[in-house]
């Protein structure tokens, strides 16, 4: 579900621009310019491989961790329809994690290494899941607006250059469209329901608006690095562009239900057509990425416990003579 547009890259700017074979590089870039996909065993620049692994891996982590905030309410979903829908939706997140780890594996990093990096705090995931889902209405806000933001990002990335990631995203985007409908449905029922329900969803919206504004990351610094990622179709749109697209599509859908968005400065500039908004506190964003958000510890602890508790199961099933081969596609 949750490919936050923001790829956490604190060492990227320190890495020197790597030296690759110029002939191979030219062919590689020409292929991408022609709109062709790069497949797993193709020659690729070291920076491309590294950046893709990082991006796909973070996306996969976001899905498996993303299963936890809404998972909070699985046992309490009201009524059969919502219960089954939420179970199916959270199941899809786990399914998406599986698809994305598989895509990243084609680039040579094992699933075990990726999961270890997640639970050791070395790899990041979308910040938005470090916030708590306090009420049932939070499920509505996450299911509607965060899925919506993720779709903006995923649709853009699905036109990228790496074959396996594009193929995974095609299916993910398709399933996300169900999630969006389900999320929007809960959101609408609450907003148009009893006063208690309406208040519940307004309060949830108030709490989640800042993380939603953080979702696409801060404005990109247009460096040589960013320019290269866009030429290689790894980064398909700027953070600001995606945020603008999201606001254009979804702010009206919130306002049409008579709900208020907790940002007095949020409005569309009639001349530029661009949304202006209040500063969403980027300091908080960076604090949460560093590990100091309300739920970071819990999310990692749960993931770690799940892996630890399953260790005896996996050990029992493993056969000594079976070995792993890097998947093909």
């Amino acid at each position: 579900m949750y490919g936050g547009g923001y790829i956490h890259n604190d060492d990227a700017r320190k890495e020197p621009m790597q030296q690759d074979d110029p002939v191979m590089l030219a062919e590689f870039e020409a292929r991408i310019a022609r709109g062709e996909k790069i497949e797993p065993r193709d020659w690729m620049p070291q920076a491309y491989r590294k950046q893709l692994v990082r991006m796909i891996e973070q996306h996969a982590h976001s899905e498996i961790i993303g299963a936890l905030p809404e998972g909070t309410w699985i046992t309490r979903a009201p009524g059969f329809r919502r219960k089954l829908a939420l179970m199916a939706k959270v199941q899809d997140e786990v399914g998406h994690a599986q698809l994305l780890y598989s895509a990243a594996e084609t680039l040579g990093k094992s699933r075990e290494d990726m999961i270890n990096d997640l639970i050791n705090g070395k790899s990041k995931y979308s910040n938005v899941f470090n916030y708590p889902a306090k009420t049932w209405a939070d499920v509505a806000v996450i299911g509607f607006l965060i899925d919506a933001a993720a779709i903006v990002n995923q649709v853009a990335n699905s036109k990228g250059s790496y074959g396996p990631y594009c193929r995974a995203l095609e299916r993910i985007c398709y399933e996300e469209s169900f999630h969006l409908k389900q999320g929007h449905s809960v959101f609408v029922y609450l907003a148009t329901g009893t006063p208690v329900q309406r208040q519940m969803v307004q309060e949830a919206l108030n709490r989640w608006w800042k993380p939603i504004m953080h979702f696409f990351g801060p404005s990109d610094t247009m460096s040589q690095h960013t320019e290269q990622l866009m030429r290689w179709k790894v980064k398909m749109a700027t953070n600001d562009d995606m945020r603008q697209q999201f606001l254009t599509m979804y702010v009206p859908k919130i306002l049409e239900l008579g709900l208020t968005i907790p940002d007095q400065e949020l409005k569309k500039n009639p001349e530029t057509g661009k949304w202006q908004f209040g500063d969403p506190d980027w300091n908080e964003f960076f604090e949460v990425i560093k590990g100091n958000g309300p739920c970071n510890s819990e999310r990692i602890a749960v993931r770690k416990a799940a892996e630890r508790n399953g260790a005896w199961v996996r050990a029992a099933l493993r056969k000594a003579d079976e070995h792993y081969t890097i998947p093909l596609a």
Binding site: I64, A67, L68, G71, W73, I74, T75, R76, A77, P78, G79, F80, R82, K83, L84, M87, A88, V90, Q91, E93, V94, G95, A97, Q98, Y101, W136, V186, Y189, L190, G193, T194, V196, Q197, V302, A305, A306, N309, G310, A311, W312, V313, R314, A315, A316, L317
Partner: protein
Amino acid sequence: MFDPKTTAALKKMLLVTADDHLILGHRNSEWTGLGPILEEDIAFSSIAQDKIGHALGLYSILHEHLGEADPDTLAFMRNEKEFFSAQLVEFPIGEYDFSLMRHFLFDHAAQIRFDHWALSSYEPLARLARKVKGEIKYHVFHANTWVKQLAEGNEESKARMQSALNEVYPLALGLFETLEDEQLLIENGIHKGELALQQLWTNEIEQLLGNFGLKVPTQAEAILGGRKGYHTEHLQPLLNEMTEVFRVDPSAEW
């Protein structure tokens, strides 16, 4: 269609199995996101959804054909004493050995039960049973594959499976607790009777588990009472949790 006493017995029979499936599906949904490997997490979640779907199918028959309240009301507004699920299904998920063994024993019982219901003289039930046959087939395939591989895995997994079997088997016998007026259901061709189903189930699981190297504790005493509304300390908290949001306003649309 049937006389009042038979109809009452039929309703109880449907409610009992609906409750079993709802509570077990609910318990198994607790594994979503926490499973031992991603692919199994996904599979087990589907099975839990199916169980809840089967519960919904049974509650729907009660509502649409037998004058009972709608499924949401039936599921979310009753308290512990009014639930007739076997005590087996209310136990916490425990570790994966417990949950898998519960899944194995329950699903073999469900397969036998629904296979017989497909021939029931009560048409709405026969129709539902035929519809869910394929889903249950997968559940049993999943359970058999897992229990076999763990029973034949390593020393630890073998010991865990045996220990789980010892613990779950007496509880599973509670699935076949005979209902009052069962005789009327048998006479009318609605149901074959719990004893008959239990015998088929015992033969099947003893053979399978024996092949996997596990010993069924056949002398164990059945843990009964669920069918009369007697439950352990686990059910009421489960129900409180399950109904927490719904009861904020049962008349609201969620």
